[in-house]
C-alpha cells in the first residue's frame, strides 16, 4: 500500500511512525528513570531517617518515621532471604521449562500447591500418630518425600496430557493451555480437599527457637529451610552439569531437533525436566509448610507469579540466575516496604508486598530484560 502511494505520502507515514517509536522510547526512558529515582529517593529518605527521625523530609511526607533497630532489620533480612530461597526453588522449575520448551508453565505454581497439600496430609497424619513430635526428623523426611513425589508426578502428568500434544504448536497455545491446567488443578484441589485453610502441625520448640550463628540471629526453621534449599540446588547443579541426563537436558534446551538427531530421547528428557522442576517445587512446598504453616488451594498462584518474576530477574533459562533472582526478590520484597515505600509516605506499605514482586518484574523487563545473569533460551527462540 505504501509503495503505491506517492513518495511524499510514504515519507509522511514513515515520519509519523518514527515519531511514534521515538515517543514510546522516550516514555520508556521516562518510566525507567522514574523507577530508579523513586527507589533512590526512598533509600535516601530511609537513610536520613535512620540518622535523624525528625528530619524535615521525613516530617513532610512520612508520619511515622522512626529509626529501626538492627534486630528488626536483621529479622526482615533473614526472613526475606529464606522466602527468597523458596522462590528460587520454584523459579528453577520455571527456568528449566522455559529453557527446554520455550513457554511459561503457568501450572507450576499449582504443582507447588499440590505438593504442599500432600505434605500437609502426611504431616497431619504423622502428627495424629504422634510421630511428628517424637521422631521429627524422620517425619520431616517423610513429608519431604511425599511433597517431592507428588509435585513431580503432577508435573509429569500435566506434561503428558496437556503439553506433549502441543509440542510443535505456536507458543501462545501451550501458554494458554497451561493457564487452563493451572485453573483445573486449583479447582480440583478445592473440590477434593475443600476450601478451608489447612495447617501444618507446629514445629517442635527445639527447632524453631532462635539461634545465633556468626553474629546473626536466625530461627531454626529458617536455617532448616535455607539448608534444604541449598542442598537441593547443589543436587540440581550436580544433576545438570555432571550427569548424562543433565547433559541431555542442556542439549535439548539448546536445540531440540539437533539433540534428537544426536540420539537423545527428547520425550524422556523433557519428562525428566518437568519431573525435576516439580521435585524442586516439592522441596519449596516443604519450606512453605515450615515457614508459613498454612496452605490453601489459591496459595500456588501468587507464589507462581513471584517465582516467575524471580526467574526473569535472574535471567530466564539460567539456573544460577533463578536461584539468585529468588534470593534478590525475597530480600527486596521483605525490605522494600520498610526501606523504600514507607519513607516515601506510603501508608500500610506492608500490604503492597505482593505488588512489589510485580513492580520488580516490570522494572527488570524495562531496564535489563535479559535479567541479572543473562537469559539462556533455545536457539530457535533467540532473535
Amino acid at each position: 500500500m505504501t509503495a503505491a502511494d506517492s513518495p511524499q505520502v510514504a515519507s509522511t507515514t514513515n515520519r509519523s511512525k518514527r515519531a511514534n517509536e521515538q515517543l514510546i522510547d522516550r516514555v520508556l526512558w521516562l518510566l525507567r528513570i522514574g523507577f530508579i529515582v523513586a527507589i533512590a529517593v526512598g533509600l535516601f529518605a530511609f537513610a536520613w531517617q535512620q540518622i535523624d527521625p525528625t528530619n524535615p523530609l521525613a516530617s513532610a511526607i512520612n508520619d511515622d518515621a522512626r529509626r529501626i533497630t538492627w534486630g528488626q532489620f536483621e529479622g526482615l533480612l533473614v526472613s526475606g532471604l529464606t522466602q527468597g530461597a523458596m522462590y528460587g526453588l520454584v523459579a528453577l522449575g520455571y527456568s528449566m521449562v522455559y529453557g527446554v520448551l520455550g513457554f511459561i508453565n503457568f501450572a507450576h505454581g499449582e504443582v507447588f500447591m499440590v505438593g504442599a497439600m500432600s505434605g500437609f496430609i502426611v504431616s497431619t497424619k504423622l502428627d495424629a500418630a504422634g510421630v511428628w513430635e517424637d521422631a521429627f526428623l524422620v517425619a520431616l523426611a517423610a513429608t519431604l518425600l511425599a511433597s517431592v513425589v507428588t509435585s513431580a508426578l503432577v508435573a509429569v502428568l500435566a506434561e503428558r496430557v496437556a503439553y506433549r500434544p502441543l509440542r510443535n504448536a505456536p507458543r501462545i497455545i501451550p501458554l494458554i493451555t497451561s493457564i487452563g491446567v493451572s485453573f483445573f488443578l486449583q479447582n480440583a484441589v478445592l473440590v477434593l480437599l475443600g476450601a478451608t485453610t489447612k495447617s501444618y502441625p507446629p514445629s517442635p520448640d527445639w527447632l524453631s527457637k532462635k539461634r545465633s550463628i556468626g553474629g546473626i540471629d536466625i530461627a531454626g526453621t529458617n536455617l532448616v529451610v535455607l539448608l534444604t534449599a541449598a542442598s537441593a540446588m547443589v543436587l540440581l547443579w550436580y544433576l545438570v552439569n555432571r550427569t548424562r541426563t543433565g547433559r541431555a537436558m542442556r542439549a535439548v534446551a539448546e536445540d531440540r531437533e539437533i539433540a534428537a538427531l544426536m540420539g537423545i530421547d527428547v520425550n524422556r528428557t523433557i519428562r525428566t525436566t518437568f519431573a525435576v522442576g516439580g521435585a524442586m517445587a516439592g522441596v519449596a512446598a516443604l519450606a512453605w509448610g515450615l515457614l508459613f504453616k498454612t496452605i490453601i488451594h489459591t496459595s500456588g498462584f501468587l507464589l507462581g507469579i513471584k517465582a516467575f518474576s524471580a526467574a526473569v530477574l535472574g535471567g530466564i533459562g539460567n539456573m544460577g540466575g533463578a536461584a539468585l533472582g529468588g534470593l534478590t526478590l525475597g530480600g527486596a520484597e521483605s525490605l522494600a516496604p520498610l526501606m523504600v515505600l514507607e519513607p516515601l509516605g506510603v501508608s500500610g506499605a506492608s500490604q503492597l508486598k505482593d505488588a512489589i514482586a510485580f513492580a520488580v518484574l516490570i522494572f527488570v523487563l524495562l531496564v535489563r530484560p535479559g535479567g541479572l545473569l543473562g537469559e539462556r533460551t533455545a536457539a530457535q527462540d533467540r532473535a
Partner: protein, 608 residues
C-alpha cells in the same frame, strides 16, 4: 489408531481413576438434588454415569487414515467398550469398598456416609446416617460393574450405527438433557406467553421431566434429525426438495434484486429477537441475559486485544475495574475521596477518558515485549491495580477493602434505570452491546483491523510493510479498555456497590476462556461463547442456568480451556484464516492431495 483390547484396557484404567475423582469431587452429591428424568435419573447420577459412557466412546475411537480402509466395526468393538466401561465401573466399586473400610474424611471432604449411600444407590437408606450395610455395598459394587459395562457397550454400539442414526440418537439424548436442564428458563418463558399448561405436561411436580415427556422429546428430536438427514430417493422427497429449493431460489432472487431490503429485514429480525423477548420473560431470564450481555461487552473488548491484534492480555480485568471505580467515585454519595455525584451519563464520559489513559498506561511499557512476557506483565498490572484498590494507602479514594456502596441507578436523563429492574437493565446492556458489536465489526473491516491482523500473524513483516505497530498496538489496548470500561460502568451501577475482590485474575481468565472457546477474532463466536458459558455455567459471581454447578464451574472452565486448546484451538465458530494458521502443518501435508491436476500438468511439461 486402531481400537484394540490393550487400548481399551488402558482407557478403562484411566477411566477408573477419573471415576474415583468424579465421585470424590462431590459432583454426584451436589447435583443429586436436580432431577433430569423424574423419578429415575438425577443430574448427580448422570454425571457419575457419564464417565463409563465417555470411556466407551474413547476406547472404540478409530482415526480414519488416508488411503487405508477403516477396519470394519464389529461386535468386538462393543465388547471392548464393555471392558473399558467395566474397568471404570470397577473404580466406583472399589471406592464403595474403601468407603466402608476407611474413614479419610480428614483430607478428602466428600468421603462421607452420604457419598457411600449415593454410590450404593440408596439400597440401604434405612441405615442412614450411618453407612450402608455390607450386603448393600456388595450389591452396589456389582450394579456399578454391570451398569458401567452396559453403558460402555452402549456407547461403543453407538459407533456401530450409521452416521445418520448415530446423530439422531445423540441429538435425542442431548435434547432430553437440555429440556430437563432449562426447566427454570422454559417455565419463565412459558408463563409469560400464557402457556403454563405445557409446563405441567412436560415437567413433573418435583422438578425434572416426567418420563413420558422425555420419551416424547427424544422421539421428536430423533425423528426430526433423521428426517432432515436421511438419504434422499423417494418420490415424496423430490417434491419436498423442490419446495425447499423453490423457496431458496426465491430468496436468492429477492436478495439479488433488493439487497438493501433483505439486509434491513435481517437487521430488523435480529433487533426484534433481542428487544421483544425481555418484555415476555420473567426476572430470572432478564437477569441472566443482562449478565451475559455484560460479559459479551467484556469478551468483545478482549477479542479486539487478543483475537484481532494477537496481544495476550491477562490483566484485562484492570480496565473493567477502572470503569467500575471511576463510575463509583463519580456517582456515589458515599465515595470517600471526591464525591461530585454526577449523573451516570456524565460519568460515562469521564469513564471513557480514564479508560483511554489506562489503555495507554498499560500498553506503553509492554510495547516491546514478546508474547509470554506481555502476558505476565499485563497480569502483573491487573494485580497491581487490584492491590492498589484494596490498599489502605489509596483507600481515601477507592474505599479500600470496604469498597464503595450506595452507587445510584443509571440516570439516562429521560429515564432512570434501577438495578432491580432487570428488563430495563438488559435493554441498556443490549444497546451497548449493539454499539460495541457495530464498532468491532467496522474496525475489523477497516485499515486498522487489517493492520491488527498483520501484527497478529507476523509482527516483523508488518513492520516492514510500513505499519505503525506502536500506534496500532496502543489502539488495540485503548479500544479494549474502552469496551471493558463500558461493562464496568454498567455493572457497577447495576449492582450498586463495588469491591476490589470482584476484580481478580479469575475474571480475566474467564473472559479469555470465553474468547478462545467462542473463536478468537470472531465476533459471532465470542457472543456465542459468552452466551454458552456465562448463560449455562455462570460467571465468577453470577449463577447461570445450572446453578448447582456453582462449585464446579471453575473446574469446568479450566478443563474446557485445556480441551479446546488441544482439540479445536480455533474455537466454536472459527475464522477461516485462523484455522489455516493453527493447523498449518496439517494443511501443508494435504496440499499434495488437493493439487493433482497442477502436478500432472507440471509432470507433462517436464517430460516433454
Amino acid at each position: 489408531m486402531v481400537a484394540s483390547t490393550t487400548k481399551a484396557a488402558r482407557v478403562g484404567l484411566v477411566g477408573s481413576v477419573s471415576a474415583t475423582f468424579v465421585a470424590l469431587s462431590g459432583v454426584g452429591l451436589s447435583l443429586d438434588g436436580r432431577t433430569v428424568i423424574s423419578p429415575v435419573l438425577s443430574l448427580g447420577y448422570m454425571a457419575l454415569f457419564a464417565v463409563p459412557v465417555m470411556v466407551g466412546l474413547i476406547a472404540t475411537k478409530t482415526v480414519a487414515l488416508e488411503g487405508i480402509d477403516a477396519p470394519a466395526r464389529a461386535l468386538g468393538d462393543v465388547a471392548r467398550g464393555a471392558l473399558a466401561g467395566a474397568a471404570s465401573g470397577a473404580g466406583y466399586a472399589l471406592l464403595v469398598a474403601l468407603l466402608g473400610a476407611f474413614d479419610i474424611r480428614d483430607p478428602l471432604v466428600n468421603w462421607s456416609p452420604l457419598l457411600h449411600h449415593l454410590l450404593t444407590f440408596d439400597l440401604d437408606f434405612a441405615s442412614a446416617p450411618a453407612g450402608p450395610s455390607a450386603a448393600a455395598q456388595v450389591a452396589g459394587g456389582v450394579i456399578w460393574l454391570f451398569a458401567s459395562a452396559a453403558l460402555g457397550a452402549g456407547a461403543a454400539a453407538l459407533r456401530l450405527l450409521s452416521p445418520i442414526l448415530r446423530s439422531a440418537v445423540t441429538w435425542a439424548i442431548f435434547a432430553v438433557v437440555a429440556v430437563a436442564l432449562v426447566e427454570q428458563l422454559l417455565n419463565d418463558v412459558l408463563e409469560s406467553i400464557w402457556l403454563e399448561w405445557l409446563e405441567g405436561l412436560l415437567y413433573a411436580s418435583r422438578g425434572g421431566l416426567n418420563w413420558l415427556a422425555a420419551l416424547a422429546v427424544a422421539a421428536v428430536t430423533g425423528g426430526t434429525v433423521w428426517m432432515l438427514r436421511r438419504p434422499r430417493g423417494s418420490q415424496r422427497d423430490h417434491r419436498w426438495r423442490k419446495a425447499i429449493s423453490g423457496t431458496s431460489e426465491a430468496t436468492s432472487e429477492l436478495r439479488r434484486l433488493h439487497p438493501l431490503a433483505t439486509k434491513s429485514l435481517i437487521a430488523l429480525g435480529v433487533v426484534a429477537l433481542v428487544v421483544v423477548p425481555p418484555f415476555f420473560a420473567g426476572k430470572f431470564t432478564n437477569e441472566l441475559l443482562a449478565n451475559v450481555g455484560i460479559y459479551v461487552l467484556l469478551a468483545l473488548g478482549l477479542n479486539v486485544v487478543v483475537g484481532m491484534a494477537g496481544l495476550l492480555d491477562l490483566g484485562y480485568v484492570a480496565f473493567f475495574a477502572v470503569g467500575g471505580y471511576t463510575t463509583a467515585i463519580l456517582t456515589s454519595a458515599r465515595s470517600p475521596g471526591i464525591a461530585p455525584e454526577l449523573p451516570w451519563v456524565a460519568a460515562l464520559g469521564v469513564v471513557v477518558i480514564m479508560a483511554v489513559i489506562a489503555g495507554v498506561f498499560i500498553g506503553a511499557p509492554v510495547m516491546r515485549m514478546r508474547g509470554d512476557y506481555l502476558a505476565i506483565v499485563t497480569l502483573g498490572f491487573g494485580e497491581i491495580i487490584r492491590l492498589l484498590a484494596l490498599s489502605d494507602w489509596l483507600s481515601g479514594l477507592t474505599g479500600g477493602a470496604q469498597g464503595i456502596t450506595q452507587i445510584p441507578s443509571i440516570d439516562l436523563g429521560v429515564v432512570e434505570v434501577t438495578g432491580t429492574d432487570s428488563r430495563a437493565i438488559f435493554l441498556v446492556v443490549a444497546a451497548f452491546c449493539a454499539l460495541v458489536v457495530y464498532a468491532s465489526w467496522r474496525l475489523e473491516r477497516s485499515r486498522i483491523g487489517r493492520a491488527w491482523t498483520a501484527i497478529r500473524e507476523d509482527e516483523t513483516v508488518a513492520e516492514s510493510m510500513g505499519i505503525d505497530t506502536v500506534a496500532i498496538k496502543l489502539l488495540a489496548f485503548v479500544v479494549g479498555a474502552v469496551f471493558a470500561a463500558f461493562a464496568g460502568a454498567i455493572s457497577t451501577a447495576k449492582v450498586g456497590s463495588i469491591f476490589p475482590h470482584s476484580f481478580e485474575v479469575l475474571v480475566s481468565v474467564i473472559i479469555l476462556v470465553i474468547v478462545i472457546v467462542g473463536g478468537m477474532g470472531n465476533i459471532a463466536g465470542v457472543i456465542a461463547g459468552a452466551a454458552l458459558l456465562i448463560g449455562v455455567l455462570g460467571g465468577p459471581n453470577q449463577p447461570g442456568l445450572l446453578a448447582e454447578f456453582a462449585q464446579y464451574k471453575l473446574l469446568l472452565y479450566g478443563a474446557l480451556l485445556v480441551w479446546v486448546m488441544l482439540r479445536r484451538p480455533e474455537g466454536l465458530i472459527p475464522t477461516r484464516k485462523k484455522s489455516v494458521t493453527l493447523s498449518a502443518h496439517d494443511v501443508d501435508q494435504d496440499a499434495w492431495l488437493t493439487a493433482p491436476a497442477a502436478d500432472a500438468a507440471a509432470d507433462e511439461r517436464v517430460a516433454t
